[in-house]
Symmetry: C2
Amino acid sequence: MKAVFRFSIVVVLSLFLVSPAFAGKKVHWKLAMTWNTNLTPFATAPLNLAKMVKEMSGGDFTIRIEGSEKHKAALGILDMVKGGQYQMGHTASYYWKGKDISTVFFSTIPFGMNVEEQYAWFYHGGGMELMQQTYDKFKVLSFPGGNTGVQMGGWFQKEINSLADLKGLKMRIPGMAGEVFAKLGVNVTNIPPGELYTSLDRGTIDALEWVGPAMDIKMGFHKIAPFYYTGWHEPATELQFLINKRAWEKLPEEYKAMLTTAMKAVTADMFIDNFAGSVDAWKKMKTDYPNIEVKTFPKPVLQAMKKAADSLYNDYAAKDTNFKKVLDSQRAYMEKARQWTNISEYNYIKTMKELTE
Amino acid sequence: MKAVFRFSIVVVLSLFLVSPAFAGKKVHWKLAMTWNTNLTPFATAPLNLAKMVKEMSGGDFTIRIEGSEKHKAALGILDMVKGGQYQMGHTASYYWKGKDISTVFFSTIPFGMNVEEQYAWFYHGGGMELMQQTYDKFKVLSFPGGNTGVQMGGWFQKEINSLADLKGLKMRIPGMAGEVFAKLGVNVTNIPPGELYTSLDRGTIDALEWVGPAMDIKMGFHKIAPFYYTGWHEPATELQFLINKRAWEKLPEEYKAMLTTAMKAVTADMFIDNFAGSVDAWKKMKTDYPNIEVKTFPKPVLQAMKKAADSLYNDYAAKDTNFKKVLDSQRAYMEKARQWTNISEYNYIKTMKELTE
C-alpha cells in the first residue's frame, strides 16, 4: 500500500513537471464588438479568433463574443474594455477621435496609405509603437483587427461634375472624410445604419458612403442610386482589437502567444474575406443592375478634397503634438512606400489593363 | 493510509480531467527549407512559425528549422517531407513542376493574379481544395507560406525596345517565365544564386531575374546593370509549407490548431516583411545609384509574352486534365476579381498619382 501511495505521488508530481505552465488554467474572457454578430465579415474576425484560441488551448481559454445587439453600446467599446467590463473589444480606432484625434491614423485617413503600405508602416515603420503610445492613457493594448481595403466613395443620386455640385449636397459620411466634405460645402449628416436605405430612397439625403460591394450589397443601395463613386477617403480601413492591460498582464505566457498569433491570422483572413466578398458582390451588382455607373470624382474636385484634407491635418497638428508626430511618421513612410507600390503592384495591374485595351 | 491513497487517485484523475488533452505531450518536429537560414525574409517565416508554436505550447511542441546549408537539398524538400525525413518543409510550389506541372499555379504564373486576388482564390475560390487535390498523391499537405508580391522583371544590360532585342539574349529566368522567354528566342539558362553576380558582371549572361528590391539589393545587381524592368511574370509568388500527412494525423488537435494558426500569421507577416524591405531597399538603390532606369517592356513585347504564355497554358491543358481544371478555375476567378481590383486598389493609386502629376 505504501509503495502504491509513493508511486501515485510520483505520478502527481511528474504530471506537474511535464505539463506546460498553463495546463488546466481556465481563462474565460468576454469580447464586445461595435458590430452586430451577423455583420460579416467584420464580426467574422473575433468569432474566428475565439474559435482558434479555444482549439489551441484545448478548451481552457475561451472568449465569449458579444455583438452590439446584446450590449447596446456600439461606440462604448473603448470605455468598456478600459473599465474591465470586457477584457477585449473589436472595433475601429477612428471611432475614438472625440477622445483623442490621433486615433484616426490607426484606422485610415483620406488620401492615406493603401493596405500593404499601412501594414508595412505598422510593423516596420514605427506604427505599432505610435499606436500603443496613443492608447497607453486608456490602459488598453491596441492591435490591428482586419482591413476593408479601399472603400468606395459612396452612392450618389446625381453625378458630381464640379465643386459646385457638392455645395448643399446632403450626404451621410462620417469621420475625417466628413470633415473634408464639410469644408467643401457638403451638408454632412450622420444617420443610423438601419435608416440609411429609406433616407436615400426618400431624398432625405442625396448621397451616402458605406464600405464597398461586399457590405453595400446587403444594404441594397445599388437599387436606388445610379452612381457609385470610387474611393479617396478610406484607402485601408483597419479594424481594431482592444485588450484591457490588467487582464493581459494576468494571462499565462502561452495564452498571450495564442492571442497575438490568432489576432494576426484573423486580421489577414478578414481582409481577404472582404475582398472576396466584394469580388462576388460587384459581379452580382453589375449583372442584376447593369446600369450602375462607376465614377471617379473629377480632378478639380479631388484636388480640392486633397487640399482640404491637408489643411485639416495641418490644423490638428498645430494644436496637438502627438497628432503631428504620427502625421509626420505616416507622411514620411507613405512618400517612400508609394514609390515601390507604383513600380510593383500598381504598374502590374496597369500593364495588364493596357494589354487588353 | 487508504484514504490518502484514494485521495491521490482522485488528484491524478482530476489532473487528467482539467489538463488539455495534449498537456505534456512532447512533439519535436524538423522542418527543411529550400533557402539558407540567413535568406530573409523567406527564412523568417518558418523561424517565426517555430517560435510561435513553441511559445503557445509552453515549449512542448518544437520545430527545428534546417536551412539548405545543412541538408544540402534545396530542391529535395518535397521528397524529404513525403518520405518523412522531415515532418515539414518551407519552399515554393513551382519547384515541383517537373513532378507535376499543375504545381505552378500554387506559386504564381505569368500574367496571373495579384496577391489579394490569389489569396481570395485560395480561400474563397476553391484554390485550397485544388492545391490539396494536386498534392494528395505525394501524401503531403500544402499551405500558403508567404508571398513576395509583384516581382521585378529583372536586371538588363541593355534596353529592350522590340522583340528583336530578345532574340539570342542570354538570361537567367526560371519556371514558366523562362518557357515564355524561350518561345520568344531568349537563350534561357539557370545559374546557381552564388554565381549570378559574376555571370552578369562578366557578360556570361545579359540579364537576370531575381525577386525585387528587398532581396536584389543584397545581391548587388544594381551596381552592374542599368535597367530594372517591371514585372509581368511572377505577380504574387506564394511560398509553401509542406506537411507530411502521417505526421499531421498523429498531432494532437491542439497542436494542429496552433500550426494552422501560426502558418496563417507568418504567411501574412512575410508578405509585409518583404514589402517593407523593398520599400527601404528601393529608396537606398535610388539614392546610391540615381541612374537606375525603371522600365516597362514595350506593349508589342508584352503582347507577344502574353500570347506565348496563353499558348503554353493551352498546350499543357490539352495534355493534362488537372492542369486544365486549375487553369480554368484561376482564369474564371481572375476575370471577376480583376474587375474589383481595377475600381478599388488600382483606381485609388491611379487617382493619387494623377493628383500629384
